[in-house]
Amino acid sequence: MTRQEIEKEIRAIFLREFEVENPEPDVNLRDAYGFDSIDAIELLMEIEKYLGTELTQAEKKKAMDIRTLNQIIDYVQMLADHRQTESEKN
């Protein structure tokens, strides 16, 4: 799962679920698009669907400090890499 693939999917989620078209990568999503805590919870559910796995409570709590699109992409990349590593171990 490349960073470009993740970015494409996250942008698609933003358009489909939050009606935000082409969000700027480094702006505060709340300030720029009114992206609030309710949206954040919905986004986590979309990320779970995208990754095809459940997020742990600890992983979800880490997401609460995220403010920008780039941070979301970093976060999903981290989750995907972690799952890849775990999968290779097994």
């Binding site: 939050f18 009606e19 609030d36 309710i38 949206d39 919905e42 559910m45 779970e48």
Partner: protein, 413 residues
């Protein structure tokens, strides 16, 4: 206890007989019914004996952004739309709207049953994680009992008090009454008041199982409900919303607001007994308390908007109580005859319709009242359209649970 004068500066409604002033007045004048065949809900509607429903059968163009839509069930669409319309009509300055002196009194009978049904569908089918995830993060916000009031507060940035009565058929008459008291006693300078209920077959099923719904006119939905008529056979559940803006009189006058009417009195009590059966003494007391609160005589009232759902006993008890308190002086109109029972919205809807009639100088007859039930004959029924000034009106509403309200309004001269 005296207080400040309270006036109505805006009114709107979404009803089975139209949305807003002009279409509603046209329907009232032309005797048009908004009752249609019950829509299929792909759930319980096929089991319901009553095949009639007060239907909002026209499109409504909503202009709500996703930021607001995401916490709104269907009931909040109705609520926010009428709230938007009366905020525009009233023309209150933006800094006042957000400044804490405008509050909200708005409710529904139980939030959004459509959303609740989806939650329960998942709940009873949940066997895996995927179905569990179907319960959305915002489903509670969409379906909770005060969802209408808080979605209005969020959409328009209103920061005053929130009152969200959930007393079934007296929900929005309480909204207006408690809003009136909030302004009268200086707790707020204005209150946005009303109620809404969405299309919902579970409510129909409850009344249907109580044998309280109309069934004899399933093939002629436009001929029921028939309040006070000998052939009445029960109520017709309906959907809709109604809202009014209340303001302190001097505040409204100084800013040059159009004043539609003054709220001069409100009373609410409970029967303290049976939760379903209408109670003659309880209702009689409510009507007396309303007049006392308004400090007027029964003969001062020109028009009574009766609760009159068209159930056998409900109409008889209301007619008897009304006759006891008012005699035969005021004209009595049963507005549910046009659209059925809009549940939480009915008090506000009937207040809005009464305001329209007051402004236009006519009284719409009780539709389908062809042969008055002799047990309801002790009051002055309106059976044909009357062009007559209406200066003072009483709006009566009664609810399951034994809750009664009486609201009195007067046209300013």
């Amino acid at each position: 206890m005296t207080g400040r004068r309270v006036v109505i500066t805006a009114a709107s409604a979404i009803t089975p007989i139209g949305h807003g002033r002009k279409p509603i007045i046209e329907s009232l004048v032309n005797g048009k019914s908004g009752v249609a065949t019950l829509r299929d809900d792909h759930f319980v509607s096929r089991f319901i004996h009553s095949r009639v429903y007060g239907t909002v059968g026209y499109p409504i163009e909503y202009d709500f952004s996703r930021q607001h839509r995401k916490t709104m069930g269907p009931v909040s669409y109705y609520a926010c739309q009428v709230a938007k319309e009366i905020l525009e009509q009233a023309g209150l300055p933006r800094d006042f709207v957000t400044g804490g002196r405008l509050g909200i009194a708005f409710g529904s009978i139980h939030g959004s049953p459509t959303v609740q049904r989806e939650i329960y569908r998942i709940f009873f089918n949940a066997g895996d994680r995927e179905s569990y995830q179907g319960i959305g993060a915002v489903d509670y916000l969409k379906s909770m009992v005060h969802t209408t009031a808080v979605n209005i507060s969020k959409m328009f940035g209103i920061t005053g008090r929130i009152i969200s009565s959930g007393t079934a058929c007296t929900t929005s008459s309480q909204s207006i009454g408690y809003g009136y008291e909030s302004v009268k006693y200086g707790l707020q300078d204005a209150m946005l008041c009303g109620g809404a209920d969405e299309y919902d077959t579970t409510t129909v099923a409850v009344f249907d199982n109580l044998l309280a719904c109309s069934t004899a006119f399933n093939d002629r939905p436009g001929e029921t409900p028939r309040p006070f008529d000998r052939a009445r056979d029960g109520l017709v559940v309906a959907e809709g919303a109604g809202a009014v803006m209340l303001e302190e009189y001097e505040f409204a006058r100084k800013r040059g607001a159009e004043i539609l009417a003054e709220v001069i009195g409100f009373a609410c009590n409970s029967n303290g007994g049976d939760l379903i059966l209408p109670n003659l003494d309880g209702i009689t007391k409510t009507l007396q308390l309303g007049l006392e609160n308004a400090q007027i005589q029964p003969s001062d009232v020109d028009l009574i908007s009766a609760h009159a759902t068209a159930t056998k006993m409900g109409d008889i008890i209301e007619a008897q109580a009304t006759g006891r308190v008012f005699g035969t002086s005021p004209r009595v109109a049963a507005l549910k005859s046009y659209m059925g029972h809009t549940m939480a919205a009915c008090g506000a809807v009937e207040t809005v319709l009464t305001l329209y009639m007051m402004q236009e100088g006519f009284i719409a007859p009780t539709l389908h009242l062809e042969e008055i039930d002799e047990r309801c004959a002790m009051i002055r029924h309106v059976q044909k359209l009357e062009e007559t000034p209406v200066k003072t009106a009483a709006i009566q509403n009664f609810a399951f649970g034994g809750v009664n309200t009486s609201l009195l309004i007067r046209k300013l001269t």
